[in-house]
């Protein structure tokens, strides 16, 4: 169907054009920026939906040599597979809904939309590119709009938060860059090729050849780079600051899709290129994941700011993603002859959890951002009885919280349940089933703080500590965004196969290659 049209390039070009158009909107025409951004991100969303159901994805790949000089070959390669399909869809969906939701907190609305559109270019680029140079460029491109979004439209401590976010994640990217250098150059040496090719495929083809020590070292560098992005404890400190200060749309994109870049990178690059290295690191990954899960959940309990609580819950949920990855690794490591369907379980549900968390966290940040905006505070001790004044918001918040704590029938359940199940398989292979206790602890804490938060903010008697006279419910556009997300949360909760059907073929072929590379 798309033989002639470079649809993947369009996914980058359309938002870029949208960014240019919104940037050029003059004074007095700013309000049209929202419509322009809406149309452009809507087109991207339609394309992403079509791509989600496109079977013959190999035909869509685009490959052009970009730089071919001095024995360096850098190509412009875009590819899509089960993993990126889902991420691309999530990105397109959230960007569109963020545009529709639009925080009215901006005095320069057109620039806000420019930043959102630019972010879409970077995010799509990260999920589509299949060349390390291009990947790295896109990876860094996402930082700049986010930096400006926080420092222009953020809260009172926005300068500090923006620069902390920028430098923290930039350092991590640079360490990752060194890792990329190391593996690309070593791959050229091992393949005996005089030309250093930075494409994913060429480097991955050297995967079985890398020495073990090299794999362990470079996997560590890449893992550091990605773990900061996810973020995993102890590299998480930038996240609460960035989230609390960011505007609502910024938080949604940050938690909804930018954090996924980290776990995407781990699966796409670190695991793929260094099978032996990742097996060596399996326990450490597991410990990092468990610490993040438990720490994130505990930290949530201690928060009084609604948005900060949700920010910490992101650490908890991204920890689940990493735990899924660790589960696959542990199973393969400790089983004499791993069964493929069990081995791919962890990866499958890790990806599902990425998707689920993207949907759920978007709802959470939207309702928290809106509450802060409408009521004037997000401090839970000051809030109370919001359900009376804001029935729609209360409904969406309840759905979001329930999905986040893993209520069966909503999308969050399948992510958490699947990850914990696959981790059980991994822990059993390792012979330490008791490790599952940490997951249960997390589930318990999750349920606790969410329900407590709901009680304190939504229900009970209307608060007298703040002026509630000007409080209003969500607007139609905002209600639309939230409703769409809630529909997806329910849809994928009832019918998880819709997403699992996309992930499973990817996961099983991924594990196939992974195990193949491990064989002597």
């Amino acid at each position: 169907m798309f033989d002639e049209i470079p649809i993947l390039t369009l996914m980058l070009v359309i938002p870029l054009v949208g960014a240019a158009l919104t940037l050029m909107m003059g004074k007095g025409k700013e309000k049209f920026a929202k419509y322009v951004a809406g149309i452009f991100s809507g087109i991207v969303l339609i394309l992403a939906t079509i791509l989600l159901f496109e079977e013959n994805v190999a035909a869509l790949a685009e490959n052009h040599v970009w730089i071919d000089a001095a024995n360096i070959r850098i190509s412009y390669i875009l590819e899509i597979d089960g993993l990126s399909k889902l991420m691309v869809f999530l990105t397109a969906l959230l960007i569109f809904l963020v545009v529709v939701f639009e925080s009215s907190e901006s005095d320069r609305p057109n620039y806000y939309h420019t930043l959102v559109m630019l972010m879409q270019v970077g995010l799509m680029g990260v999920y589509l590119s299949a060349d390390y140079f291009l990947f790295y460029i896109m990876w860094e491109v996402t930082l700049i709009p986010m930096y400006f979004m926080i420092s222009w439209y953020g809260g009172p401590r926005r300068h500090y938060a923006a620069i902390k976010f920028f430098i923290y994640t930039h350092v991590a990217s640079l360490v990752m860059l060194i890792g990329i250098f190391a593996m690309s150059f070593q791959a050229a040496e091992l393949l005996g090729s005089p030309i250093v090719d930075f494409s994913f495929a060429v480097v991955a083809s050297a995967a079985p050849l890398f020495e073990k020590a090299f794999q362990i070292l470079v996997f560590g560098m890449l893992f550091f780079g990605f773990a900061v992005k996810m973020p995993m404890v102890p590299f998480h400190t930038w996240l609460p600051d960035a989230h609390v200060e960011a505007p609502t749309g910024g938080s949604v994109l940050l938690a909804g899709v930018m954090l996924k870049m980290g776990s995407y990178g781990i699966i796409r690059i670190a695991l793929n290129v260094f099978p032996e290295g990742s097996i060596w690191w399996a326990e450490i990954i597991m410990v990092v994941a468990l610490v993040s899960i438990v720490y994130g959940a505990y930290a949530c309990v201690a928060q009084t700011d609604l948005k900060k609580m949700v920010a910490y819950s992101s650490i908890n949920h991204m920890g689940m993603v990493l735990l899924g990855i660790a589960a696959s690794l542990l199973y393969i490591k400790y089983t004499a002859s791993p069964v493929e369907s069990l081995a791919s379980l962890g990866i499958t549900f890790a990806v599902f959890q990425m998707f689920a968390h993207g949907l759920v966290t978007a709802v959470l940040f939207m309702v928290c951002g809106f509450t802060g905006h409408s009521v004037g505070t997000r401090e839970m001790p000051l809030l109370g009885g919001l359900a009376g004044k804001m029935p729609y918001l209360a409904t969406f918040m309840m759905i979001g919280f329930m999905a986040s704590l893993g209520l069966p029938g909503l999308v969050g359940f399948w992510g958490e349940f699947g990850v914990i199940f696959s981790f059980y398989v991994g822990a059993e292979a390792m012979g330490h089933i008791w490790l599952i206790v940490f997951c249960l602890l997390s589930i318990m804490l999750n349920a606790g703080f969410y329900i407590w938060a709901m009680q304190r903010t939504l229900f009970g008697r209307e608060t007298t500590k703040i002026d509630m006279s000007k409080v209003h419910d969500v607007s139609k556009a905002q209600g639309f965004s939230l409703a769409v997300l809630c529909i997806f949360i329910a849809l994928f909760g009832i019918w998880p196969d819709l997403a699992l059907g996309v992930i499973e073929p990817f996961a099983s072929s991924f594990i196939d290659i992974f195990q193949g590379a491990l064989l002597p």
Partner: protein, 503 residues
């Protein structure tokens, strides 16, 4: 009368390799006369531009056709010198564009100023072609002496006078040290030819006298590059001098220092390494430590600056540290990366200085405070500055990133197609940490421009030549970022030309 035409042609042929440089010198001689006749600074500037363009066009033609040649075996024109001459021509082109409308370059000595500028440029070009310690030394002096005068031109400004005095004294010291080193080397080896010295060192090994000679030369030319600990003059001079002169010094004169290092130390040690691999290790560590210290000190001190011009001066020091990586790694790929970095640096640092010059010209000032709310007052200018600063910080997809990509990668893999080595990986880590530190102070300028509110939103006029210079620089930065192929090709040819000097 019987004139032998062929002998005239022979003369022409023999000067052909240095013809682009001769054009610059001849042009320089005419500058005061043109100023006398037309009495208009802009006419003189335009003439100077024309001279540079003719010379650059000729040079580009020679480079494109891969011409090589030598002039009395003291000057060699090859892919390396051709490319570097082009770099110096680009530097002087930007400097002239800015100077043509700058109020900082005094009205009284316009002719002399452009003459000095062109002479200094030709000196840089001579350094790029020189193959002998003596010709290198003469070339460097040919740059230094006009530079002293140019710094002093803003003579009613006490900062400029201080800068000039400092520059002369430090410059004299550095020349003295270099001559001392050269004379010792000559005494030891009996030659001033670098390859000759290399084969002497290879045979005789390191003696105390040789080490003293090398140390004095590294120190002497280290002053030119502003390597830490020989850097303290640079911020004062760059800050005190008129901004066009700062552009010329920080982008041109510094590159010349790097070229000298390449011509002397890179060639020397690569030559020795190619025959006796273990013998250069100590020197490589010396350069690695110099590089690491230079970039760290430059970046850390830059954080504390509130004057943007001074901040850029310190960041220049740090950038020199990055370029020193090639001398630690000693490989063709590292040299390619350094040459690429030199070009990117011209555009991004030159561009940033051009913006500074524009703001000084508009009477806005040069401290961080003056940059507040600039995005509202001058959106295009702020956007250009944003690009230059992001490029300096190494954010893709800009030239500074690509340059760092190539250069830092050489610390991971010594040569393309070779194995990854752990030896210089620490240097790459130091470099990237520095890169992140630098992002902090560049982001402060960006924050001042884009996030903070200024006292006024009044627009101001930007002189066209300065804007042209800024836009040329931004084109360079973006092209080197998104389409590095051709640049990389010429840089690797240049590096290959240096490597081909080896037997």
């Amino acid at each position: 009368m019987n004139i032998d035409v062929s002998s005239i042609m022979d003369v022409f042929d023999s000067i052909a390799p240095v013809l682009p440089i001769l054009i610059l010198i001849i042009g320089a001689l005419f500058m005061p006369a043109i100023q006398m006749i037309f009495k208009r600074g802009k006419v003189t500037a335009a003439t100077a531009l024309v001279v540079v363009i003719i010379s650059a066009a000729l040079n580009a033609h020679m480079l494109y056709h891969g011409q090589t040649g030598e002039f009395s075996s003291l000057f060699v024109y090859d892919a390396f010198s051709g490319l570097l001459i082009l770099l110096f021509q680009a530097v002087v082109f930007i400097a002239i564009l800015v100077a043509s409308v700058s109020r900082e370059t005094t009205a009284r000595h316009v002719g002399a100023f452009y003459a000095l500028l062109l002479v200094a440029t030709s000196g840089m070009c001579f350094v790029a072609t020189a193959t002998d310690l003596l010709t290198i030394f003469v070339g460097v002096e040919m740059v230094s002496i006009p530079s002293y005068a140019m710094v002093a031109l803003k003579r009613h400004d006490s900062r400029a006078s201080e800068a000039a005095v400092k520059y002369v004294i430090i410059g004299g010291l550095s020349s003295g040290l270099t001559v001392y080193g050269i004379s010792m080397l000559f005494g030891l080896s009996g030659t001033t030819n670098i390859l000759g010295i290399a084969s002497y060192v290879e045979g005789a090994g390191y003696s105390a006298a040789l080490i003293i000679a090398l140390a004095t030369m590294i120190a002497g030319y280290g002053f030119k590059i502003a390597l830490v600990p020989f850097h303290s003059w640079a911020p004062d001079v760059y800050e005190g001098a008129a901004t066009p002169v700062s552009i010329f010094l920080s982008t041109g004169s510094k590159k010349m220092g790097i070229v000298v290092f390449i011509k002397i130390f890179f060639v020397l040690f690569v030559f020795i390494q190619s025959t006796k691999a273990g013998m250069t290790e100590g020197m490589q560590y010396v350069f690695a430590i110099l590089a690491a210290v230079t970039m760290t000190v430059g970046n850390v001190v830059a954080i504390a600056q509130t004057n943007v011009k001074r901040m850029l001066a310190y960041s220049s020091i740090a950038q020199a540290g990055y370029m020193m990586i090639a001398f630690a790694v000693l490989s063709q790929w590292a040299l390619t990366g350094t040459i690429y970095y030199m070009f990117a640096h011209v555009f991004m640092k030159g561009g940033a200085f051009v913006i500074v010059a524009i703001l000084i010209h508009a009477g806005i000032g040069e401290t961080l405070k003056d940059y507040r709310g600039l995005a509202k007052r001058a959106p295009l200018l702020s956007a250009l500055m944003l690009i230059f600063l992001f490029s300096l910080a190494g954010i893709p997809p800009l030239g500074g990133f690509t340059a760092k990509f190539f250069l830092f990668s050489s610390a991971i893999v010594t040569d393309l197609g070779g194995a990854v080595t752990a030896q210089w990986m620490w240097l790459a880590f130091v470099a990237i940490i520095n890169s992140a530190i630098s992002l902090y102070y560049y982001a402060r300028v960006i924050k001042a421009m884009y996030v903070e509110k200024g006292e006024t939103e009044e627009k101001f006029k930007v002189p066209v030549p300065m804007m042209v210079a800024a836009i040329l620089c931004v084109l360079g930065v973006i092209l080197m970022g998104v389409y590095p192929g051709p640049f990389l090709h010429y840089c690797s040819e240049a590096a290959a030309a240096i490597m081909s000097l080896l037997p």
